[in-house]
Structure formats: C-alpha cells, structure tokens
C-alpha cells in the first residue's frame, strides 16, 4: 500500500521537532498548574511525559491540543506559531489526541463512529463503510474488531484501538482520500485500562506509527512502560520540568526518584534500602506487620481475603487482607484506579451495590460489615474517594449535609424531630473549624467549590467525637497547604486518640507525613513494603508497579 512510500519519505525527517512548547504557564484560580514548561516532541519518537497525579501532564497536553489556552509561553507546531481556537482546530492542524475516557458513541458500530468522526454525509452503505474502515485500519496497521460491531460490545482494548484509529484518521484525509497520519499523536494514560496483552498490542502499534514519522507522546506514570517503549522522557513535578532527555539515560530508580521528588541529600544512598528489591510476596496478608501497638490489642478493623470484580468483570480487588488496631494508622499508597475506590466501598459496606463477585469479609470489632448501616453503626467514619458523588447531596444545605451519617442523624433527632437550632449551631461551629467557605449553613452544598466540599465532608466525618474506625481516601485533595497540614495532623491525632485509621493516598508527601504503617495497592492487590516505614522511592516504585509480576 501507499504507506510504504510515505514511510520512506517521513523517516528522513525523523528527529525534526514537531511540537515545541516554550515557557508555558497556566494557572487555574490560585493553583499554578504549569510553571514555565518547555517541551519538544520530535518526528518519529515516542516521548513519555511522566509525573505524579497533579504534576501537570494532562494540562500540558491539553494546552497542546487546544482544549486550554496557555496564560503565557509559546506553542509551535511544525515550526509555525500555533494558537488554537478549539480542539477541533488543533486536530485539523495535525494534533490527534486519545483521551483516557473514550469519546466513542457506544451504540454506534465501529464503522459508524469513524464515519461520524469523518463528517460523512448522505447515504451510508454499511458494506462500504466497513470496507473503508478496514482500509484505514490496514493503512495504519491497526487490528480492529469487526467494523460492523457496536462499540459497546467491544473489549476495552478493542475500543482503544478504535479510538486511536479515529484520532489518526481524524479529518485529515488527503485530497485523494488516503489517510494521512497526524504529525503528533497524544495518548493520555493509554495503559491505565488495559490488561498486559493489550499493552503489548498497543505498544507495537505506537512503534509502527513512530516509525512512519508521527511524534507520539504518551502521558503516564508507569516507569516500566516508559523504559520499555519511550525514546525520550520528560518528567514533570508540580508544574515544572524536572528532567528531560533520552530515556536510555535513565533507569527505574532515577525515574522514580525524579518523579516522586526524592530528596537525595536527605535519604541515604538510594540503593541501600531497596537494593534487595524489598517487594514482598504479592497479596500479602497482615500487611501491617509488627506494630508498636502490640498483639494484645485486638484489631478494630479486620479485612480478610477480599476480592471483587467491577461491572465489566475485571478484577479490581484481589485477595486483600489487613488488620488495623485501635490507635494505629495504616497508609495505603497507590496510584488512583488500582482499587482504592472499590476498597473504600467495601470497607464502608456498600461494596455489594457496585461490585460483582464480592468475596471475603470485613469486620469492625469482630462484627461483620455487610451493609453501610452495619459499618456506620459500628462507628465508621468515611471520607469517600468521589466526595461530590458519594459524600454530599448537592441540593441539601450545608447543615443538612453535616448530618448525612446514620448515627449523627439519630443523635441530632432522637425522636425523629431534628432540633434545628442546635443542629444549625453545631453546623456553624463545624464549618468554622474546618474553614468551609462561604460559612453559611443554609447554602446548598452543590454551590461550594471542590475544595470546600472536601472540607465539608471532612468536617462531618472527622469533626465529631473520635470514631472507632476512620477510612479516608485522598483526604487533602483540593485543600490549600495550611488545611492539608491540619487534616493530616487531625488524622494522626484521631489515631492517637484510639481510632483505627486507614488513609488511601496517591500523594507521596502525604504518605510520608502521615507517618503510619505503609502498604501499597497496585492492580487490586495489597503489597507490603520491606519495612513498616519504607523509603520514599521504594513506595514510588511499588506504586508504579515495579517489581510486581504483571
């Protein structure tokens, strides 16, 4: 096919800068997302953009693809100044983007989704559409499922290939109707939803595209993958470029160190604590290990061999077991999407409502937790992962939201009647204590900013008397520095006061500062570190899936 000729022509240009970004700045409100970032993607290379959650990777690529405009700095595509009015314009100019959340219409067939993307009009013959789809797929050497099947029937890997094909074909048909590969292809966390075999297929596909001259950028936080596929790597942390250069100059340790911001001066030689590869057996039981609290103290929270699948049938929790004693603080580190949300649901007693094949058991003080009312009744406080959806009822006012937990509501209304004045007064105090703004108890919770919604949930769950068990997912998300510090201090204090505390965090600073026993959740499995308080870069490596048999 024609792509052979094209390959030859484009391969010559390999190494030519396709996308150049200089001094890009972007702020959202008070948060500086990008702080003078330089980034160059060259033709024919696979460039990994690496960083923790919130480091600015996605924002940078959204500036490149026209979804956001930069506050300052320069973006050039193919040597020309690029200021996109919209994502559609960027796409027309040759920037194809594959989002983490697929933009495919599930009820349309593969071929129809492609026809929609191409803006096909008039009569569509299914046979011809299918043929066209196959021709495109062949031209880009992407193996796709039957073009006549509906997208909702496809596996995640198949869907992703359709999404990639859609991005590649775009509306960049040459006048002769041949597909014309984009100058730049950006993939946001492309492997997050894939099983290992599918990752292999994807990487082959990307290598093929790069070989034909496309600059490929993958946004990721997985170190092993970077080293496997990337020619070049750029590491972002807190909106700044920490390192950029050929991937060959790095190994896993240096990448992990750069990504999580290991302070080399403070740590002993990075190798010494982890040289023996401190990763214990996967699915380890008793991840808390030996604790200072001692075995005489029976656990307040016991999780035994919990496994579950999500609605699609993928395993999201895999034989998770641990115990937390009163006064103990367990920090479960992990990149989001590795089962945190699901484990929080199970601990809170609502696992059965959203997970399939839920096995194992959760006990608080020896009593099994099957429903949320069991957990609440046993004295559980929970800060859910998705506070907007699970933590609050947007239409209700702040003071009402502060009562959204069975025991709190029962206490506020012993005979069914809410003592409004007392509840309001208590709410006002709690709101002030946690700095919820605006501090109007009558306001609807939905009108609050994300950070203030988080404060409100924290105020309800952590503000009252000491709970028996605390489960908190990313407790400091959306908070400013002072509030972050105070929440962490409060979690430590609750443990000190005798609560069994479990904190899920994707933020290594937080993991470190909480100073609890550390375990890591990776692909639904709970991994134990080499020590109760492992070194920072060991946690980073575990979080990134290093040293785990995939």
């Amino acid at each position: 096919m024609s792509d052979v000729r094209e390959t030859a022509a484009r391969a010559d240009e390999s190494g030519r800068p396709v996308l150049e970004m200089r001094g890009v700045r972007k702020r959202f409100g008070a948060v500086v997302a990008l702080d003078g970032v330089d980034f160059t993607a060259r033709a024919g290379e696979i460039h990994a953009l690496l960083g923790e959650n919130g480091a600015g990777k996605s924002t940078l690529m959204q500036v490149a693809s026209g979804l956001y405009s930069a506050d300052a700095g320069e973006v050039r595509l193919g040597g020309r100044d690029a200021r996109w009015g919209s994502a559609v314009e960027a796409r027309a100019a040759g920037i194809a983007m594959v989002h983490q959340h697929f933009m495919l219409v599930p009820t349309l067939t593969v071929a129809e989704n492609l026809a929609l993307a191409l803006g096909r009009r008039g009569w569509l013959d299914p046979a011809r559409l299918a043929e066209e789809t196959r021709a495109f797929a062949d031209a880009f050497r992407i193996s796709i499922a039957d073009p006549g099947r509906r997208v909702e029937e496809l596996s995640v890997g198949d869907r992703q290939r359709v999404e990639i094909l859609k991005a590649l074909v775009g509306d960049r048909l040459a006048p002769d109707g041949r597909p014309h590969p984009p100058a730049l292809l950006v993939l946001d966390e492309p492997t997050a939803v894939l099983v290992p075999d599918e990752v292999d297929v994807l990487f082959e596909l990307l290598e093929g595209l790069a070989a034909r001259g496309t600059a490929v950028v993958i946004v990721t936080h997985k170190l092993a993958e970077v080293l496997r596929i990337a020619d070049r790597v750029t590491i972002l942390r807190a909106g700044r470029v920490i390192a950029s250069g050929p991937a060959g100059e790095h190994d896993e340790r240096s990448l992990a160190a750069a990504m999580v911001g290991t302070n080399r001066d403070r740590l002993p030689v990075a190798g010494s604590t982890t040289a023996g590869d401190g990763v214990a057996a996967t699915g380890a039981r008793g991840a808390t290990g030996a604790t200072a609290a001692g075995a005489a103290n029976p656990p307040a929270l016991r999780v035994d061999a919990v496994s579950a699948r999500d609605a699609r049938g993928a395993v999201v929790l895999d034989d998770v077991s641990f115990e937390v004693r009163p006064g103990e603080l367990l920090v479960v580190a992990g990149v989001e999407g590795n089962g945190q949300g699901e484990l929080v649901s199970v601990l809170a007693g609502i696992g059965r409502d959203r997970l399939r094949d839920l096995r194992g058991c959760v006990e608080i003080d020896g009593r099994p937790v099957a429903r949320a009312s069991d957990a609440r009744g046993a004295g559980l406080a929970v800060v859910p992962a998705d506070r907007g959806r699970e933590g609050l009822v947007h239409e209700l006012s702040l003071w009402e939201n502060l009562l959204l937990a069975e025991p709190l509501l029962d206490r506020a209304a012993p005979r069914g009647w809410i003592d409004r004045d007392r509840a309001m007064k208590a709410a006002a105090g709690r709101i002030a204590e946690f700095g919820v703004q605006p501090a109007d108890p009558l306001r609807a919770a939905g009108a609050l900013s994300g950070g203030n919604q988080q404060r409100l949930v924290l105020a309800r769950e952590l503000g009252g008397e000491v709970p028996r068990v605390v489960v908190a997912a990313n407790p400091s998300r959306g908070l400013d520095l002072a509030a972050t510090a105070s929440v962490r201090a409060r979690l430590r204090a609750l443990a000190g006061a005798g609560a069994a505390v479990v904190v899920f965090s994707s933020d290594l600073d937080e993991v470190e500062e909480l100073a609890g026993t550390v375990a890591v959740l990776f692909r639904g499995r709970l991994l134990r570190a080499s020590a109760r308080r492992p070194a920072r870069d060991e946690i980073g490596r575990l979080m990134a899936g290093l040293g785990v048999a995939a």
């Binding site: 699970e390 209700l396 959204l404 509501l409 306001r443």
Partner: protein, 357 residues
C-alpha cells in the same frame, strides 16, 4: 445580602404570575373584541369580590393544596412525579367505591378518605417499583398511569359504579355519612372540613421534609442514592416511601374532592389538578407557604375566570394558559444561565431548594 433584594426575588415569580394572568386576559379579550379592562376587572372581582367568592376560592384551592403538597414532597425528594393527576383519580375512585357501595355507617367519610390515601399510594407504587428495580424514570410511567386512572374512572362510572337510573355516566350520590362536615353552614354551605385538612397535611408534609430525620433520609435517597447509601440510610425503603407518601397525599386530594365537593364520581372530576399542582408547587418554590399561596392564586384565577366568562364572555379555560405561562417563567428563571445573571445582579443566592432540575 440585602433583605430588600431578597424580598424582591421571592416575590418575582408571584408578581410575574399575576402580570401574566392579567396580561393574557386582556390580550384574549381584545382578540375577541371585548373590552380588555372589563375582562381584567371581572377576573379580579370574581375571585376576591365577596365573602362567598372567597369561600369559593378556598374550596377550589383545596385539591390544589393537596396535589401541590404531593408534588412538593416528590420533587424535593428527587422524584419527578407527574402522576398526581392519576393518583388523585385513584383516590377519588376508591373513595367513590366506599361511599356508594358501603354504608351508610358512622365514620364512613373517614374510611372513604383512608381508602383514597391507600389507593393513591398504591397508584404511585408501580412507578416506584419500575424506578427502583428497573431504573426506569418515573416521568413517563407516571404520565401513563394518569391515563390508565382516567379510563378506569370512566369505565367505573359507565359500568360497575354507574348510578341506578343509568342515565348519566356518573355514580350515585355518596351515602350521607360519607360527606365531609361543613365548617360553617351558616356562612357558606360549600366550606367543608377538607379545606382545613388539606392545610394541615401540607404543613405536615413540609415539616416531615424539613424538620425530621425521616425527611432528610427521603430527600437524600431520591436526590443522591449513592451518598444516602454511604450514610447508612435504607435507600430502597426510603425511595419507595417517598413515592408512596406523594401518591397518598394526592389520593387524599381525590377523596376529599369527592366527599367534600362533588359527592358523585364522574369522568371530568379533575380539570387537571395534578398538572396544575406542578405549577403550584414550583411557583411556591417547593415550600409550604409559597405552595399554599400558589394554590390560592390559581384557585382565585379559576374563580375569577369563571366570573369573567359569565360577565364578559372570555373563556375560563384561559386560566390554564396562565398556569402554563407561569410554569414556563418559573422554569426559565431557575436555569443556570438566568440564575447566574440574577446572582450577579444581587437578586439571588444559590439556595438549597431540593429541586431536581
């Protein structure tokens, strides 16, 4: 925030409703070649002109207060009950069966009202089941059941419940013990105890929602089942209960109307109370005082429109158009786009309404 602007905002929809009512009356009168001024005058005097007129308005407002309370309870609980009409008819039908096929016996009226309550709740339980078990939105199902109820009533009064003489499609008059007490027979014979009952039920519904832990559970379950579940609330039970309570109140409305006003069951028992109720509840901001005021407003409008029809010849059905225009205005005033503009003008603050819009 400025108290005056808050007051202006509170009154904005109401003022709008009055303006729409008078404006539409004038326009329609002008189209038909009547004097617009006379039409407007008749509209006002017919509703508020005399003690008798006021009593008429109170009696007319009663079914609207009850169906309005049903809609208020549902909407604040995140349930789009468009079926108050059907639940009202189901209640009336059940009360009609009790009132004509049993008795007379002391306390029959109470039994009739209770059966209306149960029938209304039962009528709302199918949409509840479909939402809880099948995830089917209640919008379509409640509308469908309105028509099923309508034809069921029609069937009843043409068949099993038709009067002995078989002359008209209506039931026999209720047994006298099924009639509701008159409040003040010396002043106006139409004022029945249901007028007070409706007010009490509306206040109770409002108190339940705003002041009790059950009310908070009901609202949470309907508005955000995930959050309610995490709170440890029994979501399925609460959601089913909210449907049933809403249906029960509307069903009570039908029974009260039958035992208090019409005394016979017939097809056109409801001129669309269940639909007007949506305008009533939303005009009142889904709060009891506003809702009752809304019911009184639309009742007065209906009474005034009847008088306008008699004296000026402008059709009373115009009142329905006013309901529609008011509802449209309230819906648009509540949109994010318009609300943002009002907020910027300092006229509105984001309030906790419990609306499901």
């Amino acid at each position: 925030m400025n108290r005056l602007s808050a007051l202006v905002l509170r009154l904005l929809p109401a003022a709008l409703a009055v303006a729409v009512a008078l404006g539409l009356a004038a326009i329609v009168a002008a189209v038909g070649g009547h004097a617009p001024g006379r039409a407007v005058g008749a509209l006002v005097s017919g509703s508020l002109g005399s003690a008798e007129n006021v009593a008429d308005v109170l009696v007319r407002a009663t079914p609207l207060v009850l169906t309005g309370a049903a809609v208020m309870l549902a909407f604040r609980s995140g349930i789009f009950n468009i079926g108050a009409e059907g639940q009202f008819l189901a209640g009336a039908l059940a009360a009609g069966v009790v009132g004509t096929k049993t008795g007379p016996f002391p306390g029959q009226a109470l039994v009739a009202l209770l059966s209306g309550v149960l029938a209304g709740a039962a009528w709302a339980s199918l949409p509840a089941l479909l939402r809880i078990r099948r995830g089917v939105s209640e919008v379509i199902t409640t509308i469908l059941l309105n028509f099923v109820a309508l034809y069921l009533v029609s069937f009843a009064v043409n068949g099993p419940l038709q009067e002995q003489s078989r002359t008209y499609p209506q039931s026999d008059a209720l047994a006298s013990t099924a009639d509701l007490w008159r409040l003040a027979p010396s002043i106006d014979d139409r004022l029945h105890v249901g007028v007070l009952l409706a007010l009490l039920v509306a206040i109770a519904a409002g108190a339940l929602l705003s002041r009790t832990s059950l009310g908070l559970r009901l609202r949470s379950a309907g508005l955000n089942a995930d959050a309610a579940r995490l709170a440890g609330f029994p979501v399925v039970r609460d959601l089913a209960l909210a449907f049933a309570l809403s249906g029960a109140i509307a069903g009570l409305g039908g029974a009260v109307e039958l035992c208090g006003v019409t005394h016979r069951l017939y097809e056109k028992l409801s001129p669309g109370y269940g639909y007007t109720a949506i305008a009533v509840a939303l005009l009142g901001g889904l709060r009891v005082p506003g809702m009752v005021a809304g019911a009184l407003f639309f009742a007065a409008l209906g009474a005034g429109a009847s008088s306008m029809e008699r004296t000026v010849g402008v059709s009373a059905v115009l009142a329905v158009a006013v309901q529609g225009a008011t509802l449209l205005a309230v819906a648009v005033l509540g949109t994010p786009a318009v609300a943002r503009r009002l907020e910027r003008a300092g006229l509105r603050r984001p309030a906790a309404t419990g609306e499901t819009s």
